[in-house]
Symmetry: C2
Amino acid sequence: MPEHKTMEKVTIKDIAKKCGVAVSTVSRAMNNHPDINPETKAMIDRVMKECNYVPNNSARNLKRSDAKAIAVLVKGIGNTFFSQLVSGLEKECQKRGYSCILQNVEEQDNELDTALHIAKEKKLRGLVFLGGNFTHPKEKLDQLEVPFVLSTICTAGRETEGCAAVSVDDFKESYKMTDYLISLGHKDIAIITAPREDESIGKLRLLGYQKALEDHGIPYREELVSFMDMHEDRYSFQSGYRLTGKLLENTKFTALYATSDSLAIGACRALKERGISVPRDCSVAGFDGMDTGEYYIPSITTIRQPVEQIAKATAELLFDMIKGKEKAKQLIFDGELLKRESTAQNNTEN
Amino acid sequence: MPEHKTMEKVTIKDIAKKCGVAVSTVSRAMNNHPDINPETKAMIDRVMKECNYVPNNSARNLKRSDAKAIAVLVKGIGNTFFSQLVSGLEKECQKRGYSCILQNVEEQDNELDTALHIAKEKKLRGLVFLGGNFTHPKEKLDQLEVPFVLSTICTAGRETEGCAAVSVDDFKESYKMTDYLISLGHKDIAIITAPREDESIGKLRLLGYQKALEDHGIPYREELVSFMDMHEDRYSFQSGYRLTGKLLENTKFTALYATSDSLAIGACRALKERGISVPRDCSVAGFDGMDTGEYYIPSITTIRQPVEQIAKATAELLFDMIKGKEKAKQLIFDGELLKRESTAQNNTEN
DNA sequence: TTGTACGCGTTATCAG
DNA sequence: CTGATAACGCGTACAA
C-alpha cells in the first residue's frame, strides 16, 4: 500500500541521495551549469519533479553574491497611476533578463528601512521608489549601497538632492493647467490640493497654481484653496467629493482644479448633485492622465504624465547606473495638456 | 580625520566584537529575548544603531522554524477590487500580530509555484489567493503544507473542490442582476462577459444570466453575447468600450449587462459617443461595486460585493485553520443589488 | 565530469 | 544572565 504522507521537507540532500549523486551535482543541475553530463542532469531533473522539490530561496540568497534582480517599492499600491508604472518597469526588467520584485510599503512605514532590508535579503542590484514623500537624511540614504532611482517623486526638494529621479516637473505642469483655465476666461479658480504639511508633489502643484495666477494679475485667495485631510485617503474620489462640497458652501468659482483625476471625478459628482453642470456652469480639471478620466462623462481635462516614457527612462537610468555607465541624475519629462470635455470657456457674466 | 567609508557588510559578528559580547547575546538583544540584562541590551542596541546594522533576513528565515506571517498572492494588482481586499486583510493581520506579505503574480505566471516558493522561503503559516483561475491539480495543491484560502475565486469548480474559499455566489448574483433588468421591462439584454475559455467567475456570471432569461421565457441569443478577448486586458474600461461598439454594430438591445463595473463604464462611454443616452435609451449594469461606479455619471447600477466582510471572513477562516480550530470550508456572502442611475424602465415601444 | 567540505548570517540548545 | 557551538539549505572552490 503506497503511503502518501506529506513528505516533510525535501532538500537538496534528499534529491542527491535518491539520485545517488552528490549535492553539488544536483546544485549544478538546477542552476544549469555547463560542467554536467546531460544524462545526469536529465535524470536529476526528473527526480526533482517527482519529489516536488522546491529549492529554499533563503539559503540561496544567503550564498549568492549577486541576484540579477531589482525591487520596486511602492507606497500606495492601488494607486492606478503606479500600477501602470509598475507594469512598464516589469517589462523593461524582463527585456534585460532581470527579475523584478514588487514591494508594497504601508503608508505609515518607512520605505527606506524596507529598502535596506530587502536589498540585503535579496542581494538586489538596484531599487526603484514609487510614491511617498521621501524625506530621508542623506547619511541613511548612503547605507543603501546599490543604485536607486525615484520615480514620480518630488525632486525639487532638499533631501532628495543628488538622488537619481525621473518625473514630470509638477510645478511647471500645474502652471500650465492653471494658465489654460485662465485662458478660458476663468478668474475664480478653486483648487483641491495636498494637506498643508505636504512637502512633495502636492506642494509643487499648489505653487504652480499660485504662480500662474500671479503672472496673470489674479489675486491668490485662500478661501478658494481646499487642502486634503492628512488622515483621509488622499487623492481619492471621496476626498474630491467631500472637499468640493465644502468649497461650494463657502465660496463661488467658475473653475475647479483638482490636483488628481480621482479628485476631479469626485468633484464632478459633487457638482452634479447640486445641479451644477460641468463644464457649462463650472469647469473641472484633473492631473495625471488616468484611464478613468478618459471614460468619464464628461471626460476629464488633465495633464497626462507620460507613464510609458517615465517607466522606460527609469529603468534605463537604473540599469545604466548598475553598469556604472551613468551617475545619478534627474530626468524631467513633459506632461501633456489634454483638453477634454470637462472644461469650457467661462460664460458667467461678471 | 574620521574615515567615512561605506562599511561593506556589518554582520552580527561585527556587532558582537564591537560590544565585547558573544553573537548569541546580540541575537537575544535584537529579538527581545527575556534572558538578558537590560543594560547589556541597551548598550548593544546603541551600537547596532551606530553601525547601521541591518540583520540579514535570508539567514533568519533559514533558521527560524516559524514566522508569524502570512502572504497574500494577488493575480492582477491594479484591480481596484483587490486593493480593497488587500487593505482589509492587512488590517486583520495587524490585529493578530501577524505580518502580511503582499506578492504580485504576473498574469502568465503560475500562482501555485510562486506560493510554494514563498511559503518555504518565508516559513509562512498561511496564504491567501486573490484572482486567477486557479486550476491546479490536487496533488500539487497538497504540496502546500500550510493552510490557504481562496478569496473571490470561483468555488463552484472541479479542482478547487475542498479548498477553503470565501466569495459571493457569482451565479446567483448574476441571476439577480439579470432578473432585475428583466423586471424593468427589458427583453433584449446584451452581455459582456469573460472569454469563452473562461472557467471561473466569468463563466458563472454568464450562466446566471442565461438561467434568468430562461426562467422568464426569454430566448438566449448568441448575438447579444460579447466575449472579452483572451489576450486583451480583461475587465478594463477599454474592453468595455470596444466590445460595446461591436455589439452596437451587429444588434439591438435596450439593456447592457457588463460583468464588471469597469466594463460598464467603458460601455457607457461608447454609448454616449453614439448619442445613445444612458439610461433613457439603454440601461447599463455592472458588477463588483467599485468606488468608480458610484462617482460615475450616471452612477452605475451594480452588484456590490461585500469586500470588508469577505476580507474579514477570509482572515478569520485562515487563522482558525492555522490554529487547527477549523477545517477548509466554503463561505458564501450575499452581494447587494445597488440600483443606481444607469438603469431605468424600458420605454421602447415593442 | 563528479564528490568533499566549508561557510554564508542567524537562531537555538546547551553548558557555565 | 552569557558564551560556545551546532544546525538551517545551498553554492562553490578544490580535489579526485
